[in-house]
């Protein structure tokens, strides 16, 4: 761990002329900026300041936007067992993503991520560990794997596959995700499986999915190419910085308007406003659908909708119904519309519905959302009021978790409908999508066995198993946790942690023996007695999942330590090169899974290296948005491998889906999905003149939408789905809204940013969760910036039961509360106050993932009835002053300047 006692360096080594240069992309946010790693042996002198003396080929001092090495951009690593210096800087020559070699503070400092026993990364996990007599002790891989496999087999045999619960990251490289899903779905075949950010395998953005929009259809160039960009639930400057600085900011500079729906103002919003092109719709958490619906209503009242687009690309009543009531009824679209809640009879049906909903009338929307009427009117004009010459505004719309983690279903539906009505979704500069969070490292190696889930919503639909409730109910006997903290990342955290304690540490069957068989027998007894075994694949020992609960810990190798593939938020695929030796015995997650799988008797895990995994999985990517199978085809025709071919594409990589033209021998990427402007000739160039040749595959989504007809389903966005919960939750008395989100400097990843970077820890000390509070709310409570405050919630709702929904309201909040399925708990967390007018009055805001002071304890563990995910952004808190924090009157760390202050 680092501390804030940090003194900056005043020199940095320059890479010498002939050092090794490897390409990679940043490990962190979805944008995945292109980077170069410069590596040279310690025995070789550093480069000099003259152009001919260094690897950059430029004279130092360098000028603005040229290469430079900051003191935080170098490190020392072992490469082939020998110490080397490395410098990692953004690639100034990349033609995509981070133009001119731009970089965020997170990626800019990524050289500090690598293992170095002299640096704060010294505590990387290096050996498999088994907890004997309460202490995690280093053992061999064979010893740890044999125990895990024997106990796992026993649990599955005696308690069923669903007793084997897998909680995993969903993004940490395709090779790993393929191995994890192949093992979990094809072989273990468990329904108790989910990603790091949701209790069940949820659809994050149902509105997009059911309308027919791919989350990541747009290209980054689209975000800067509109006349008006509407952003709901994020400031991309804070969260995927380079999309903002490389793409959106140039758009703003040439006059693009940016409308932001957010309860607080941060740097990107400030900049747009400063340039006269920004509008902040400062809403209360959870009310995005209200504001979006009100904008839509004004547009329809004025007849500003894109009539030509609607006529050509929106499903009419017959087309809408063709996706309903037929076939297997197995698609989400069919299931979700069982109760008539979402589908419309085309444009006229939607319009009639919207006009009949009182909440979207301007005066009502103002009252619910807290946004000024004038701002909502302004937004409607910016989105759709025809220009003076009668031409249409080109609008694009993007959303992120502030939208879909506060009232996911109505909010995503409302955005999809608004976007469709203004003609967005399928043309350059007129797109609809997500900005994204983590990079896209998913790759399915099997099919989730939804029908094995005992959970069901009203109608005929089974719903993916809620792994949190399943665990709390005592059904999980073996928890396999991969690269996530589980507890702190979920909502209503206290209840979940208590269950871990009961099932793991308080169970009498604890390992007391050195003998492998005795250990196995003990753990089997624990499972059979109703307890739970925890195995944890990680790069650091995390608290409490690793340090307090794991029986077995497997050390994982990660970014820079193994060759991996991954895509970014515009589907751009790159090879992330290995450039140094993983610490100790750490191994990639695919290898760990393979060893475990083989010991459990499963076949198909004989991979020798990462490329073997990639070449096996490529064919399963063919229907996905990031299809890369054709890279392998090209590679094999050229006598090379998938990984080497992708490596040759450097930081530019290629945008999936990838096509191969067998005649020209060229690979072609896909700029955007749903591109209705693509012609037959465009596609012929990609895959040959007779349609998709060889292994190339056609998919509707290249030129149409992902719906039953290829046109867009225009959907309702009923506020009633969330309104009972929202109205119950709404602050009463001296409560305030409490919401959370990402902070540019630290949001990804906590274990690197705040815990192992001296400078970042100086700015955001790990023990200093902060809370932004409006000056009026602060004054009423006698709070000043720098004060230590107690935030507490005396009514945290916790949905605790695994129940079947039969009647339409069974899973609704008020009904479940009445029927005793929701427990009200208490939670408290301390924070340092930051008094700022940048946050809306009545709303407080904290960093979303501080594992020391996790404010998720304040958020209700209530899932969206359609997505199955928590409304992470909805919480309330009372706040009282405890005294002064040490940061109030010292100058060496933190700052209490509002994030939106600017010249």
């Amino acid at each position: 761990m680092t501390t804030e006692y940090y003194i900056p360096e005043d020199s940095a080594p320059l890479p010498p002329k002939n050092c090794d240069v490897l390409t990679t992309a940043c490990d962190y946010c979805i944008v995945a900026c292109g980077y170069k790693v410069y590596r040279w042996p310690m025995s070789t002198p550093d480069g000099g300041p003259k152009a001919h003396e260094n690897a950059y080929g430029i004279d130092f001092p360098s000028f603005a936007l040229q290469d430079w090495v900051a003191p935080t951009q170098h490190n020392v690593v072992m490469h082939n067992g020998r110490p080397h210096k490395i410098v990692i800087t953004p690639d100034k020559n990349t033609r995509h993503v981070n133009l001119l070699g731009d970089s965020s503070i997170r990626g800019g400092c990524i050289a500090q991520k690598v293992y170095n026993p002299d640096k704060p990364t010294w505590d990387r996990l290096k050996n498999p560990l088994v907890r004997i007599n309460g202490i995690l002790q280093p053992v061999t891989w064979d010893f740890a794997l044999d125990i895990a496999a024997e106990v796992a087999k026993h649990v599955i045999k005696e308690h069923g596959a669903n007793a084997y619960s897998v909680k995993t990251y969903g993004y940490q490289f395709m090779e790993n995700m393929y191995a994890i899903t192949k093992f979990s779905f094809r072989d273990v075949n468990t329904a108790s499986w989910t990603w790091h950010d949701t209790p069940s395998k949820a659809t994050s953005t149902p509105g997009y999915r059911d309308a027919g929009f791919d989350n990541f259809a747009p290209s980054y160039e689209d975000w800067g190419a509109a006349d008006t960009l509407l952003i709901s639930g994020t400031d991309p400057y804070e969260t995927k910085t380079i999309i903002f600085t490389s793409w959106i900011k140039p758009g703003i500079d040439r006059g693009m308007k940016v409308i932001s729906l957010n309860p607080r103002e941060t740097g990107g919003v400030t900049y747009a406003k400063k340039m006269g092109n920004g509008l902040l719709l400062d809403l209360y958490p959870g009310t995005d659908s209200i504001v979006l619906g009100a904008i839509t209503r004004i547009i329809l009242e004025n007849g500003w909708e894109d009539k030509d687009w609607i006529k050509k690309w929106v499903n009419n009543k017959f087309e809408t119904d063709s996706g309903f009531g037929q076939g297997t009824r197995n698609t989400p679209w069919q299931w979700r519309t069982t109760w008539g809640k979402f589908q419309t009879g085309g444009f006229e049906g939607y319009k009639k519905w919207l006009m009949g909903q009182d909440e979207y009338k301007l005066e009502n929307a103002v009252q619910i959302s807290g946004v000024d009427a004038a701002k909502i009117r302004q937004a409607a004009e910016w989105m759709a009021k025809p220009k003076a010459d009668g031409s249409r505004i080109k609008a694009s719309l993007g959303l992120e978790k502030g939208n879909y983690w506060s009232a996911g279903t109505p909010s995503t539906n409302a955005l999809a409908s608004l976007g469709t009505l203004v003609g967005a979704g399928g043309r350059p500069g007129q797109m609809i999508g997500r900005f994204g969070g983590h990079q896209r490292g998913g790759q399915n190696g099997g099919k989730y066995p939804r029908n094995k889930s005992p959970m069901k919503v009203p109608g005929r639909r089974r719903r993916p198993l809620d792994t949190d409730r399943w665990l709390k109910s005592g059904h999980t006997r073996f928890a396999h946790v991969i690269g996530t903290t589980w507890m702190q990342a979920m909502a209503g955290t206290v209840g979940l942690q208590q269950s871990f304690e009961q099932l793991v540490t308080m169970n009498p069957h604890q390992i007391r023996s050195h003998d492998k068989q005795e250990i196995i027998d003990t753990l089997k007894k624990r499972a059979d007695s109703g307890g739970m075994i925890v195995i944890n694949q990680e790069i650091y020992l995390r608290d409490p999942i690793g340090s307090r609960f794991a029986d077995i810990v497997f050390p994982a190798a990660t970014w820079g330590e193994v060759d991996f593939m991954r895509a970014n938020g515009e589907r751009r695929l790159r090879l992330y090169s290995k450039f140094y030796d993983a610490p100790g015995d750490a191994q990639p997650d695919w290898w760990i899974i393979a060893q475990l799988a083989k010991r459990m008797g499963y076949e198909g895990y004989d991979w020798k290296n990462s490329n073997d995994v990639a070449e096996e999985m490529s064919r399963y990517s063919r229907k996905s948005r990031k299809s890369y199978h054709m890279i392998k085809i090209a590679a094999h025709r050229e006598g090379t491998t998938l990984h080497e071919k992708l490596r040759s594409l450097g930081t530019d990589g290629i945008q999936g889906p990838v096509f191969y033209n067998y005649d020209t021998g060229e690979l072609h990427g896909t700029v955007r999905l749903h591109d209705t402007t693509l012609t037959r000739a465009d596609m012929d160039k990609k895959w040959g003149t007779d349609g998709p040749a060889g292994a190339n595959m056609h998919s509707k989504k290249y030129t149409h939408f992902n719906s039953q007809t290829g046109k867009v389903n225009l959907q309702k966005h009923p506020w009633e789905i969330i309104s009972t919960y929202w109205n119950w939750l709404k602050p009463k008395g001296d409560e305030l809204w409490h919401t959370n989100g990402r902070i540019n400097e630290i949001w990804q990843s906590g274990f690197d940013d705040t815990e192992r970077r001296a400078y970042i820890a100086q700015r955001f000390p790990a023990d200093a969760q902060f809370v932004e509070i409006h000056p009026d709310d602060a004054a009423a409570r006698g709070i000043e910036s720098g004060d230590l405050v107690m935030m507490y919630n005396e009514r945290v709702p916790n949905f605790k039961d695994t129940i079947l929904g039969v009647f339409s309201n069974d899973l609704h909040f008020d009904e479940a509360l009445k029927n005793g399925h929701i427990e009200l708990g208490k939670a408290a967390v301390t924070a340092v106050a930051l008094v700022t007018p940048a946050v809306k009055k009545g709303v407080t805001f904290s960093n979303f993932l501080n594992t020391v002071q996790p404010t998720n304890v304040l958020q209700g563990a209530i899932t969206d009835t359609i997505t199955g995910n928590y409304n992470f952004k909805l919480g309330i808190a009372k706040i009282k002053r405890l005294g002064e924090s040490k940061y109030k009157r010292t100058f060496n760390s933190m700052t209490f300047v509002p994030r939106n202050l600017t010249a």
């Binding site: 006692y5 003194i7 900056p8 360096e9 005043d10 020199s11 940095a12 080594p13 320059l14 300041p49 130092f60 001092p61 360098s62 000028f63 603005a64 936007l65 040229q66 430079w68 090495v69 900051a70 003191p71 935080t72 951009q73 070699g101 731009d102 970089s103 965020s104 503070i105 800019g108 400092c109 400057y237 910085t241 600085t245 900011k249 941060t266 740097g267 990107g268 400030t270 900049y271 400063k274 540019n744 400097e745 400078y759 100086q762 700015r763 009157r889 010292t890 100058f891 060496n892 760390s893 933190m894 700052t895 209490f896 300047v897 509002p898 994030r899 939106n900 202050l901 600017t902 010249a903």
Partner: protein
């Protein structure tokens, strides 16, 4: 201490002679004062050197060799009006500013109200120019947003990044007050574009 009266805007070559070990020892005290003094008014000579074991040698390196350069007269600084100068030399990327922040106390601040600070002008992210971006609002004193990628820096807290992209705090120019004369005597943090602050030429 110097008794110079003229403000020398060129590299103070003759001052380099002062930058030996003896001078360095003096600077350690100053450095400790800058970094770790709290809100209470202290004078440099009373600060304990033993506060953070091991840091003394590290800090020595960051002041030894720096020129001592007269950059302003305290009585001539107007509240919240930055004055430009170059430091530690007149070579590329040395542009810097000194400002009296209207009574707002700052880490490393000098003067009776500890409100006079100096910083290099180049954003530590990609070298964007921060000239003209000084803001004084309520108790807050910043430079930014940088025109290139919008970083902002808190001038009361050693130039720490408030919001944005910067890899480091804004390099702070270490100041020394002698009567009414303000001298630049060292730097904390690497200037953008340089691989070391003190260039050979």
């Amino acid at each position: 201490m110097s008794t110079d009266t003229g403000i020398d805007n060129t590299t103070s070559r003759k001052r380099k002679a002062r930058s030996g070990t003896a001078h360095g020892k003096c600077m350690i005290t100053r450095r400790q004062f800058l970094l770790y003094s709290g809100g209470t008014a202290m004078v440099a000579s009373t600060v304990s050197l033993g506060l953070f074991p091991g840091s003394a040698t590290a800090t020595t390196a960051r002041v030894v060799g720096y020129p001592r350069k007269l950059i302003a007269r305290l009585s001539e600084l107007k509240d919240n009006v930055p004055v430009d100068f170059n430091y530690p030399d007149d070579l590329d990327n040395s542009s810097a500013m000194i400002v009296k922040m209207g009574g707002v106390q700052a880490g490393g601040g000098i003067g009776s109200r500890r409100d006079v600070v100096a910083y290099n002008y180049l954003c530590t992210h990609q070298g964007g120019p921060l000239q003209g971006s000084y803001v004084a609002e309520g108790p807050h004193r910043i430079l930014g947003q940088c025109p290139l990628h919008l970083s902002t820096y808190d001038l009361t807290r050693h130039g720490i990044v408030v919001s944005g992209q910067a890899y480091e705090s804004l390099p702070q120019v270490l100041l020394e007050l002698d009567g009414d004369n303000v001298y630049a005597v060292g730097m904390m943090g690497l200037i953008f574009g340089r691989h070391k602050n003190l260039l050979e030429s």
